[in-house]
């Protein structure tokens, strides 16, 4: 009898003593897809903008009022903390904000430069709802609000579109790095590396991009474009990596997926496009008394994607030549990134962490003054490049054209 009573009591307790749970109907939730942080009008204040999904405008096949509203809309509110703004926004919204599906956080460039980004991520770690896997971008040349205000073609919700663009370009062009909130937090916390965040800009008129008419012309008036990698020191934006520098950074970081390397071919400048298919880098540190040497070894493989000059790739010398110039080209871009970082005194590559891994004792002494030490460190870059496939043809037709003319 006693056992049975215990079982009953425990069963009841199982249901009563639950942790936090909350029943919310889907129709009471405003699904937030992205949010943007700008500077507020007053000192110390943020202007937080939320992009909220209009479900009925996004579903296919459901009988909806389709065509009247935009797929998403934004609401802005100010507050000294982000959470204050979240609660304040209830004055303007009929539904409760729901953050579990946030994919993007956009930060104003001015804000990042002047006040820094250190304070912005506490909420992400503290809240059970927000995800640490949300992506972070810096709005470049415009305020963050207008980035998520954009109406975009193809996929409709600009918050998600931007993330998709970032993922796509990281995969095939590798000039930008996909950074999630927890990466940023790790970068901020770590002394041996500094965070980087990719940028996003508006190509066109931001005002036009807000309207639905943005979708009604074939030459889209305003487009979102992923652009550059922002570097941070002490939580403040100190400079942008662009083009070759950004690629060089990706090489060292071992994040290079695939890109096109432009090389000269005989007399024609930029006549060869090599499609990189694989790249691996390893960093080793040598700590000496006076200076520190880093060895960056890069191994890469590529295909010939396009070659607008006569060169017979069936001969191995030609391939060797291409491999050599590919290695040189790579090294050039890597060095430009390293030089930039050393000049700005930001260890975006995580060299400090390499020392920490290889020689923790030395790191204990170095870590206080690391940014200065980093700028003086010597970096030796070694590139091994291989070209594996010349594509479907061995000899380009271009070679034969001059002969016919003779």
């Amino acid at each position: 009898m006693k056992v049975r009573r215990c079982i009953v009591i425990f069963t009841v307790l199982l249901f009563v003593l639950t942790g936090c749970w909350n029943r919310r109907e889907l129709s009471d939730l405003a699904i937030v897809s992205a949010f943007a942080v700008d500077k507020g009008t007053k000192e110390n204040e943020y202007l937080v903008t939320f992009q909220i999904i209009n479900p009925s405008e996004n579903a296919t096949g459901v009988a909806s009022s389709g065509g009247k509203a935009t797929p998403a809309f934004t609401v802005s509110e100010t507050g000294t903390t982000i959470f204050e703004a979240i609660r304040k926004v209830s004055k303007k919204l009929s539904r409760q904000l729901f953050f579990a599906h946030i994919r993007l956080m956009v930060i104003n460039e001015e804000l990042a430069k002047e006040e820094g980004i250190l304070e912005l991520f506490d909420l992400f770690e503290r809240s059970h709802e927000a995800r640490l896997t949300s992506n972070v971008l810096i709005a470049r040349g415009t305020d963050a609000k207008s980035i998520i205000n954009m109406v975009t073609p193809l996929d409709n919700i600009s918050g998600y579109v931007t993330v998709k663009k970032l993922e796509a370009t990281e995969k095939v062009w590798s000039e930008n790095i996909k950074v999630e909130v927890d990466d940023v937090i790790n970068g901020i916390v770590s002394l041996g590396s500094s965070p980087v965040i990719s940028g996003v800009r508006i190509d066109g008129d931001p005002k036009e991009g807000q309207k639905k008419s943005n979708l009604e012309s074939t030459d889209v008036p305003a487009m979102l474009e992923i652009s550059g990698i922002a570097t941070f020191r002490g939580g403040k934006l100190v400079g942008w990596l662009d083009n070759g520098k950004a690629k060089g950074f990706m090489w060292v970081k071992n994040k290079m997926n695939s890109t096109i390397v432009r090389m000269d071919c005989k007399k024609k400048k930029g006549g060869v496009a090599i499609e990189l298919t694989e790249s691996k880098s390893s960093i080793k540190a040598e700590v000496h008394r006076k200076k520190t040497i880093f060895h960056v070894d890069i191994k890469e493989e590529g295909n010939v994607a396009e070659m607008n000059c006569p060169a017979d790739l069936s001969k191995s010398e030609e391939i060797k030549k291409l491999e050599k110039s590919l290695a040189i080209e790579t090294k050039k871009e890597v060095m430009s990134a390293i030089n930039f970082a050393q000049k700005k005194k930001v260890d975006i590559f995580g060299f400090g962490e390499v020392i920490n891994r290889e020689d923790p004792k030395a790191w204990e002494k170095m870590k206080k003054n690391w940014n200065a030490d980093f700028s003086k460190a010597e970096v030796k870059v070694k590139v091994e490049a291989y070209i594996r496939r010349p594509g479907m043809i061995m000899k380009p037709y271009i070679k034969e054209v001059p002969k016919l003319q003779d």
Binding site: W21, R23, E25, L26, S27, P55, S56, V62, S64, R103
Partner: protein
């Protein structure tokens, strides 16, 4: 002896003697044929289907009593003719005439000599013909059973694509023959008993002597003997009296209308209970996995059988938790639904006036209504009703914005999934528990579903069927029985009978029967 409704004298007082009782209550046949005639009419109440025919052999009066509706009249006539035709010289011996009639009757039918009224009446009421001879206080009964009965048809509830297509009928004799024809072994034993004070229903227990454990036979008999009731019309009623855990939503007795299924179960050491008047045989002991096994699993090749069995488990799970998972996900755990899916669910729920739980309840109840109506409604109106049901539930409800289209999909999938369980009685338990889980999901989310499932599994673990753990061979885990548990290994790999059910005669296959190409012998023959 007359019986009164509602108060039975189950224990017949054997001490009462003939003399102390008034005539109508005397338990034995009288030697006076007139008294007997009166007694029959009095006991049966002059029912018009009772036929009493009188014959005169020399000076001897003989009456034959039988029920028109239960006998084959040709057999009866033959029986009477055989019994009462005297050969030369036979009739002279007056004292011997009873034995002579008995001897003659024996030539045509199986004959019993009875003197208790109760037994005579019972045998008449089960289709026998009774001969009463003047001057003898005994009756001769001959088996003359006949009458109309349903012929063997195809199974309606346990259909298979490949495999035998015969099915039990309402006649226990037919049913026994269907099993006997499959197992031509002297070890197939049958015992019968009568249950039901008024209906006197024949109940047969079939088992394979030497394979079945003796304790099990004893247990089944004890449980059947305990039943004291006025009527048994179907094996379902027997099931309710002999099951181990009557309060459980899960059935612990398996029923089948397929003779091949019964035969296979007998061979595994189970006991089959056949009930006259019911085309469903009971099979005990029963395991949980049995409800997911269809007879054609063994007739297909094993790859397909394994796939189909796993499919049934999955669909059982869907039919159990389908709507509750949906409710929990969209009211508690919106973060775990992929964003695009969440948006389209949100879009379809836009404007639905009810919370998800109420919405699900409406649809589930509507579906249950359709299902029940589908069984009960007259065949002629069936089509009309189902069209209206489908249109109203599927189309109109969504268009009117009462339920979301996603909910219709969920309910439809759940409904279809519940039909894939081969055993209807287990599908019904899932149907009931589904509502419980839906309530749990609506109040506690996945936490509630998890707790609910834990309770269900704990309960399943506590169940026994005739002493065998219900979840065997999964819990307790019996590795060798996994070959025919949730999976179905090739037949040539199943050497042994299920371990817990059968302990006497465990080996069922001889050595390695796996087919393989001949090693060498084949070639030499070809050369010749």
């Amino acid at each position: 002896m007359t019986r009164r409704w509602g108060r039975y004298s189950f224990e017949k007082d054997k001490k009462e003697t003939e003399k102390e009782l008034p005539f109508g209550d005397r338990p034995f046949v009288s030697a006076d044929i007139n008294k007997n005639l009166k007694r029959i009419k009095q006991d049966i109440g002059n029912s018009p289907d009772m036929t009493v025919r009188e014959f005169q052999i020399n000076e001897l009066r003989v009456i034959a009593v039988y029920s028109d509706s239960l006998v084959d009249i040709d057999v009866v006539n033959n029986f009477i003719k055989q019994a009462l035709t005297m050969e030369k010289g036979q009739s002279n011996d007056e004292n011997n005439v009873f034995d002579i009639i008995k001897k003659n009757a024996r030539a045509s039918q199986e004959v019993k000599v009875i003197r208790e009224w109760d037994e005579i009446l019972l045998s008449i009421l089960t289709g026998d013909t009774a001969l009463l001879i003047d001057g003898f206080a005994h009756a001769i009964t001959g088996s003359t059973k006949g009458g109309e009965q349903r012929s063997i048809a195809e199974p309606t509830t346990q259909t298979v694509v490949r495999g035998p297509k015969d099915c039990f009928t309402e006649s226990i004799a037919t049913n026994i023959s269907l099993v006997r024809r499959r197992i031509s072994s002297p070890n197939l034993w049958l015992e019968t008993m009568r249950i039901g004070e008024e209906t006197q229903t024949t109940v047969g227990i079939m088992y394979m002597k030497g394979i079945v454990t003796d304790g099990l036979i004893q247990e089944v008999k004890e449980r059947l003997n305990r039943i004291k009731i006025d009527m048994i019309l179907d094996s379902g009623q027997i099931e309710e009296f002999i099951e181990d855990q009557p309060s459980s939503p899960f059935p612990t007795v398996y029923n089948t209308e397929r003779p091949d299924s019964v035969a296979a179960n007998l061979m595994e050491g189970r006991i089959a209970i056949l009930v006259n008047g019911s085309p469903f045989a009971l099979v005990v002991p029963t395991l949980f996995v049995q409800f997911f096994q269809s007879p054609d699993d063994y007739y297909y090749r094993f790859h397909i059988a394994i796939f189909l069995r796993l499919l049934r488990y999955i669909s059982f799970l869907i039919s159990l938790v389908g709507p509750s998972v949906y409710i929990a996900a969209i009211t508690f755990h919106q973060e775990m639904i992929p964003t695009t899916l969440l948006i389209s669910i949100a879009a379809s729920r836009e404007g639905v006036p009810f919370p998800a739980f109420v919405e699900a309840l409406i649809m589930e109840v509507a579906f249950e209504l359709m299902r029940e109506a589908g069984i009960r409604m007259p065949r002629a109106v069936g089509q009309a009703v189902s069209i209206v049901g489908a249109l109203v539930l599927g189309q109109a409800a969504v268009q009117a914005g009462i339920v979301s289209s996603i909910m219709v999909i969920i309910v439809a999938i759940t409904g279809i999934a519940s039909f894939t369980t081969p055993a209807y009685n287990l599908a019904i338990s899932a149907r009931l528990l589904r509502f419980v889980l839906m309530i749990l999901a609506a109040t506690f989310g996945f936490y509630g579903i998890t707790l609910g499932l834990i309770i269900i599994i704990a309960h399943l673990n506590s169940l026994r069927s005739f002493g065998i753990p219900y979840l065997a061979p999964l819990s307790p885990l019996i590795p060798s029985d996994q070959k025919d548990g949730m999976l179905r290994f090739p037949l040539w790999s199943m050497f042994k009978r299920p371990r817990l059910i059968n302990q006497n005669n465990t080996i069922r296959e001889n050595g390695n029967l796996q087919p393989s190409p001949k090693q060498n012998g084949g070639e030499s023959k070809r050369e010749e």
